[in-house]
């Protein structure tokens, strides 16, 4: 057990945890956009900054990738923290002026109209989609492309990722809601990635229930499950 303080309160955590997850668990409010408990911390959005004192040194640092260390003290809302956070929000708002999650943050932190030219982008490059696809689902269909101010996220050739199974995990996790899924009886499309897959119908009830390619993928990576398991829809299994 590791003991340290957050805003003066003593808290305990397991070695290997990060400051953000402990803080959230204990009910402290630290805004964060690129962290998800199921994924490895990445430290991209810089919103989760806090002031951490370790030994004699105090500095601003992101809490999602700061390991818990015995005796440190974490301040979640000092003047410096708020100042940095507000600018991060202003930068994100200028980038994605229509993203509800960013607009909400701006309201909460009284960030007015950004002083920078609006970009009309819809992606904050948090990388959650990219990580969930690789770390949790597994097809590793999308990635970051380019670097610096022209960094993007997307499929290798920017369109139609060959390994995408159209599972929708990225759709679900995207904080700005900019990855859309369209579906009908025949096919499912992940609009942002330009990936359309035909649907399969359940061998029992005949309803279309999941992309064909997705079921093949699961069939391949799962062992010990009867092969026809993947031919039935959730209700009929």
């Amino acid at each position: 057990m590791i003991t340290f303080t957050i805003d003066g309160y003593e808290v305990q955590a397991e070695a290997g945890q990060n400051v953000l997850e402990v803080a959230l668990d204990k009910g402290f409010d630290i805004p964060h956009l690129c962290y998800h408990e199921a994924l490895k911390p990445y430290g991209a959005c810089r919103l989760c900054v806090a002031e951490v004192t370790s030994g004699k040194r105090t500095r601003l640092t992101t809490s999602c990738n700061y390991p818990v260390i015995e005796g440190i003290s974490v301040q979640t809302s000092t003047e410096k923290v708020i100042r940095a956070r507000k600018m991060v929000i202003e930068l994100l708002l200028a980038r994605c002026p229509d993203a509800p999650i960013v607009k909400d943050l701006a309201r909460e932190y009284s960030v007015g109209r950004p002083r920078f030219t609006a970009d009309n982008d819809d992606c904050i490059l948090c990388g959650l989609c990219e990580r969930v696809c690789r770390e949790v689902v597994g097809p590793d269909a999308i990635t970051f492309l380019g670097r610096g101010s022209s960094r993007k996220v997307g499929p290798p050739l920017e369109i139609n990722p060959k390994t995408c199974i159209a599972c929708g995990a990225c759709v679900y996790i995207c904080p700005t809601d900019c990855i859309k899924l369209k579906e009908n009886e025949k096919e499912r499309t992940i609009v942002r990635w330009g990936r359309t897959l035909p649907m399969k119908t359940c061998v029992v009830c005949g309803r279309s229930f999941a992309p064909w390619f997705q079921l093949e993928y699961f069939r391949k990576i799962t062992e010990g499950i009867p092969k026809d398991f993947w031919d039935k829809c959730l209700d009929c299994r």
Binding site: R134, T143, L145, G146, R147, P156, P161, T163
Partner: protein, 161 residues
């Protein structure tokens, strides 16, 4: 490139995933860019996700996913060259070739790229065409310098004919 030639490169690096940057460098040296089907092949042979390959190919400046012209015109925009007027030289080259940075001329003779320092700062502004360095460039010297390559290339063509 044929798969045998690619396999040779892969063998040289023992099919090691950590050597992917070097593998792509060798591939590009041969092809002068990274063709899509070659990358597919590399991905398959190394069992390496395409995402990783493209991540790398788009992260590092050295790589190009589109074909480049016969002569790569590389303008140094390092600090030393900048204070000696490299930007004006670049402007002039763009105007003369009628292309922007990252593009290729219609006749496929020239591609224009920029680089941050070639380590020949004392001779700045530097423009490298093909493998030849041209030091102390000025906007006024641009045309005559590039014309030489145009001539050289048409001469070579004549010889072939």
């Amino acid at each position: 490139m044929d798969s045998q030639a690619i396999d040779q490169i892969l063998q040289k690096y023992d099919y090691g995933h950590s050597s992917i940057i070097a593998i792509l460098q060798d591939l590009q040296e041969k092809e002068n860019y990274l063709p899509e089907k070659d990358l597919d092949y590399v991905s398959e042979r190394l069992s390496m996700p395409l995402t990783r390959i493209y991540r790398i190919a788009t992260f590092y400046n050295a790589f190009s996913l589109t074909p480049r012209g016969k002569y790569l015109v590389n303008v140094c925009l390092g600090t030393a060259c900048h204070v000696r007027g490299a930007a004006r030289v670049l402007d002039r080259i763009k105007m003369y070739l009628g292309i922007d940075v990252g593009e290729m001329t219609k006749d496929k003779l020239f591609s224009l790229e920029t680089v941050n320092c070639l380590g020949s700062c004392a001779l700045g502004p530097i423009v490298v065409i093909g493998n030849e360095y041209h030091g102390q460039m000025t906007p006024a010297k641009v045309e005559s310098t590039i014309k030489k390559y145009r001539k050289r290339s048409s001469r070579k063509k004549d010889e072939k004919d």
